[in-house]
Every structure is written in structure tokens, then in C-alpha cells.
């Protein structure tokens, strides 16, 4: 009989192997999906995993999409590590775009290039304030941060629509729901001439480095993680869970807002109802696939960006719907969670006649502890 046996120690190898295993399973399911749709599975998979890294231009496009994903996922990693379930990053991203866009709209061609700094700061502030509502309601009124943050996504989306259909609509825009095109000085500077990649990539990468230091080399970061892993131990040590809540939500809201402002002043150059592209939700997957680790998130954001570009290519080259991206993203998270089981458990064969002694499962919280035979 096949059964799960808990490992005496969580397996470090599996922790790294699990995302790769999950990717492999997703690919197998994807290949069978393609053949069911009547496409050659291998060439269809190549659209997803070879085309997006074929040449320098493709890499640049990959980085353009990976930047917001990485920034948001970094913040979410901090949140999830401290056991704060912020799933409304999409809303904080929208608010960041609104905040950054508001500053950018006031710029003229004479404005200094340094206007970019207030634009990005406004984005960070707007995103952090939006997440601050979640923190406030959780802290003062004990309202579930999952539901509040999610509800605020819809509110943010409607707020954006109100602005672009109403007071912020470009008077010379033929009645299209869009703001004016921001002055050229607000544009986020490009890294290399001829490619769309801008300095947002550098900002995202240095944020990853900074968060690594924060999480693993500072006392505040340590406190956050203890609060997430062992709330009782954190309480005993006198670490404030309220403080952790506020820090985690401010960081993740601020970073999502930064991503929004970079997107508005970078690739978009104006606000439209299509600012939200699902990055806030895809970043949840990025955070988990990246093992809630800043360095892991860098690789995971590239992978998720491949899914986005692959979906677009599949639409233009293979005539498949773009929504395939969402199917793959969801599948990947599902298989990842299943594979993660192998970190704490191993699969073992047992003849049903002679059950071997079962060590105590290494589960937090609810499992009853007994003198272990581990």
C-alpha cells in the first residue's frame, strides 16, 4: 500500500526540487492539453519556453513583465512569511498606478527628469496606504485580511474606472476612457537604447537584495518570521504581532504600489481601464514558487513572465486563447503545493500485513505532541 510517511526532518533537497518537479508535471499536463486541442505538443511548448528566451529582444520583453511580478512577489513573500495573508496586491498595484499617474499628469515638457522620484514615491505611498486599510481593519477590528484585501481589489478597480471615465478623462481623447499621455519627461529611463527594458528591473533586483538582508540579517526580519512560523513562541518572546502585521502589509502594499507606478510611467505612459493585468494575483504564485525567498522570487518571476508571453504568442501563432496563461499558472501552483508535501513526507510502500512504526508527523500547531520515535 502506498502511503505518506513523515520525515524526521523536512528535506532541504525537496524544498529546492519541488518547484522543478511541479513545473515538470505542469508541462506534462500542458503537453497533453495541447495534443487534445490538436496542436503538436512539443512545438506548442516551445512557444512557451523557447521563444521567450530566443534572443536579446525576447529577454528584454521577458524582463518588462517580470519586473512588476518580482516587486509584488517580494512584498508578498514578506507577508506570507509573517503569516499575513494579503491577497489584494492587485488592488495595491492599481492604487500605485493611480498615485504615480496623478503626479505624472501634472508634469509638462519643462519639468525636470527628477519628477520620476515623486512619481514612484506617490505610487509607494498610495499602495502602502491601500494596504494600510487592511492592516487597520485587521488590527483594530479583527476583520479577516484575506477578505478585506480581496474586496479592496474590486473597489480599486472601480475607482480607476471612475477616474478614467470621469474626472481624469483626456478631453482630447475622442471620448476614450483614458487619461492624457504623460509628458515624455516622466518616462522611466530605458536601460539600453532600442529595448523596452527600463531601470525598473534594477529597482526590482536591488529591492530583492535589500529584502534578503532585511529578512535574514536583521532582528526585525527575524521577529517577523518567528511570528509567522510559531506565533506562540513569538508572543512568549515579546515580539509584537501587531507590529509584524503593519510592517508586512506596508512593505507589500508599498512594493505593489511601486510596481504600479513603474508600470504607469513606464510601458503604459497613461492610465486606462486595462492597467490591472492580473500581476497581483500571478505574483502570489511567483512568491510560492520562489519559496518565499527573495532570490527564488527572481527566478520564479522570470518563469511566470514566460507564461504571460507564451500565452500571447500562443494566441498569435497557434490561434489558442490567451487565457491559457491562467490555466498554466493555476496548474503550476496546484502541482507545487502537492509536490511540497514531499518536503515533510516521503512516499513509502507498505505491505498491509505488517505496518511499520509511524514517526510523529512534523506538523505545526494542531498535531498532538508525544515523545517521538523520530
Amino acid at each position: 500500500m502506498l502511503r505518506l510517511e513523515s520525515r524526521p526532518q523536512p528535506s532541504a533537497t525537496m524544498a529546492w526540487l519541488s518547484p522543478l518537479l511541479a513545473l515538470a508535471v505542469t508541462l506534462i499536463i500542458g503537453a497533453s492539453l495541447f495534443s487534445m486541442l490538436g496542436k503538436a505538443p512539443l512545438s506548442a511548448l516551445a512557444v512557451f519556453f523557447v521563444e521567450p528566451v530566443k534572443n536579446a529582444y525576447a529577454w528584454s520583453e521577458l524582463a518588462v513583465k517580470a519586473t512588476p511580478l518580482l516587486l509584488i512577489a517580494l512584498g508578498l513573500s514578506v507577508c506570507f512569511r509573517s503569516n499575513v495573508w494579503n491577497i489584494g496586491a492587485e488592488g495595491q498595484f492599481i492604487l500605485g498606478a493611480i498615485g504615480g499617474g496623478w503626479v505624472a499628469m501634472h508634469a509638462t515638457e519643462e519639468t525636470s527628469k527628477l519628477i520620476l522620484i515623486p512619481i514612484l514615491l506617490a505610487g509607494v505611498l498610495a499602495g502602502a496606504l491601500w494596504a494600510g486599510i487592511v492592516a487597520l481593519l485587521r488590527d483594530r477590528y479583527n476583520a479577516s485580511e484575506i477578505l478585506v484585501s480581496l474586496m479592496l481589489v474590486y473597489v480599486a478597480d472601480l475607482l480607476l474606472q471612475y477616474l478614467v471615465y470621469g474626472p481624469w478623462k483626456d478631453p482630447a481623447g475622442y471620448n476614450f476612457p483614458q487619461t492624457i499621455t504623460f509628458a515624455a519627461t516622466t518616462k522611466v529611463p530605458k536601460l539600453i537604447r532600442g529595448f523596452r527594458t527600463d531601470i525598473g528591473v534594477l529597482i526590482a533586483l536591488s529591492t530583492a537584495a535589500a529584502l534578503w538582508v532585511f529578512l535574514f540579517r536583521t532582528y526585525a526580519g527575524f521577529q517577523l518570521q518567528v511570528g509567522g512560523l510559531a506565533p506562540a513562541a513569538a508572543r512568549y518572546a515579546g515580539f509584537s504581532s501587531r507590529r509584524a502585521l503593519w510592517i508586512a502589509l506596508s512593505i507589500s502594499g508599498g512594493l505593489a504600489g511601486l510596481a504600479g507606478a513603474l508600470e504607469a510611467a513606464g510601458p503604459l505612459g497613461q492610465l486606462t481601464p486595462y492597467v490591472p493585468a492580473g500581476y497581483g494575483f500571478a505574483a502570489i504564485i511567483v512568491a510560492f514558487v520562489g519559496r518565499l525567498h527573495p532570490i527564488g522570487a527572481v527566478f520564479a518571476s522570470l518563469l511566470m513572465s514566460m507564461f504571460y508571453i507564451g500565452g500571447e504568442l500562443a494566441q498569435s501563432r497557434l490561434g489558442l486563447p490567451k487565457s491559457l496563461t491562467g490555466v498554466f499558472q493555476g496548474l503550476l501552483l496546484f502541482t507545487l503545493l502537492a509536490c511540497d508535501t514531499l518536503i515533510n513526507y516521503r512516499i513509502a510502500w507498505h505491505s498491509s500485513a505488517k505496518p511499520s512504526p509511524q514517526p510523529e508527523p512534523a506538523l505545526p500547531k494542531s498535531s498532538v505532541k508525544s515523545p517521538g520515535n523520530a
Binding site: L4, S6, W85, I87, L137, Y141, N142, A143, S144, I146, L147, V148, L150, M151, L152, Y154, V155, L158, L159, Q161, Y162, Y165, G166, F281, I284, I285, F288, P321, S323, L324, T325, G326, V327, F328, Q329, G330, L331, L333, F334, L337, A338, D340, T341, N344, Y345, P355, Q358, E360, P361, L363, K365, S366, S367, V368, S370
Partner: protein, 306 residues
Amino acid sequence: MDGIAPLIASTLSAGTVLALAALGLLINERAGILNLGAEGMMLIAAIAAYATCVHTGSDTLGFFAGALSGAVAAACFGALVIWFNTNQYATGLALSLFGAGFSAFAGIKYTQEKLPERPRFAIPGLSDIPFIGEALFKQHPLVYLAIALTVAMSWFLSRSRSGLVLRAVGESPESAHALGYPVRRLRFLAVCVGGALVGLSGAYLSSVYTPLWVEGMVAGKGWIALALTTFATWRPARVLLGAYLFGGVTMLQFHLQGQGVNIASQWLSMLPYLATIFVLVLISRDINVIRINMPASLGKPFHPTT
């Protein structure tokens, strides 16, 4: 006065979407499982029911397809969280994300399709009463089924032996296990039955309430249903009342827009979401209310030790 009867009627209809989903989630949660995948399950069920309806022309088959697809999606979730001990929050989120992607993918052909002529319902006799008949007795059978289900579930949870066992599984799985109840199998059963109800709600949404298939049409109703179970302090009758209340808020928004109130439509559309946040704050504010009513092991994994 003219607008009131249709407003009540549409409130009941809108409330039924939420009531069915929230009752399904209630069964899950009473068994100790928090399923954040409601939004995804509703989307999958909505397109499954719609497609079945388009191809077979039968609403009944559509409802079956919706309930079945909801149950299957819930079973995937249940297998992972119950036997593989995955994190319930993350797994539910995965289901919601997958459901959004999958339904958009599967539904692409159906955005242009129309359903066969929608049947009209009226209870003979009662529906002829002025005002009341218009408001209450010209509804789809599922509206009355939701009410019947609420009554049945209240009885089941508080009066029946199996309901007691289910609650024990949600409150203290260790004790239930020690008494010899198959905790994990019971939880799995609850997840599947709950998923079927959530699926039925999605089916009702796409084939009766709207009736259309639009990508992402559930628009947060799965999440609102999740909030409703907290709002109702995990009691079926209050779930139904809460669902009608929210149905009312949704309808009020359309009503006000129809009346030409001078507020941008986006502000009115925010109402259901803001109302959800408001009631969550209202009910969660008193931590004791939550502590007394919430199933004690909600969201916690259970792994029996041999």
C-alpha cells in the same frame, strides 16, 4: 410603489446565488475546512452549466453539470488539503486562480452563444395575489430550494446525530478521531457536498440569474459568500438572511442607477464590496462572538497519529 415588487423579486434571486454558495461553504467550515477556492469553483461550474445548457437545451442537466463540476473541483482541493496536508489558504487560492484561468479558457467559445428561451415560473394561485405574488411567487425553483436547504441544514447541524459528528470533526478532530470517526473521510465528504452546492450556485448564476457567460462573471461573489459565513456566525438561517441582505444591496445599486441618481455608476458598483468590508468589521469587532461561534479547528490540518 410600482418598483418595489420587482425589486424584492430580484433581491431574492440575487440573494439565492450567494445563499447557495455560502451554505456550501458553511458545510465545509463546520467540518473545519476553509475553502478559499469558492470563486474558482463558481466560475468552473458557471461555464460547465452554461455549456451543458447550450448543447443539450436542458436547464436541469446544466444544474447537474454545475454541481458535479463544483464537486470535482472541490474534491481536488480536498484531496490536497486533507491527505497531502497542504496549506488550506494556499490551496484554496490555487483553486481560485486555476478556476479563473480555466473558465476563461473553456468559455471562450460561449461568449457569443445564447441560451434557449428562459422558462418563466409562477406558482399557480399564489402568484396571482397582487404585489405579494409578483414579489415572492414567480421565482425559479432553486430560490425555494435554497430556503428549503437552509431549513434542512439547520435541522441537520443542530438536531441530527450525523450533524453532531460533522461539527465534532470541525471543533475537535482529535476527539472525533479518538471516538473512532473517520475524520478525514468525513471532512472530504463535507468538502465535496459543499463544492456541489457552490457549483449549483455558479450554475444558477450563469443560466438563470444573468443568464449569459461573461469571463470573470462571478465578480467576487465567491469571496462575498465566504464573508457571509463569518457574518452569519456559521448558522444557516443567518446565512440566508445575510445573502438576501447582500442581494438587496446589489439590487439597490442597479435600482439607483435606473432611477438616474446623480452618482457615477462606479461608486454604486462599489457598494456590495464596501458592504462586505463593513459587515466583516461589524461582526469581527467583538472577538468573543467569533471565538464562541467559529469552528475551533477551522483551517487547521489534521493528521491522525497511529
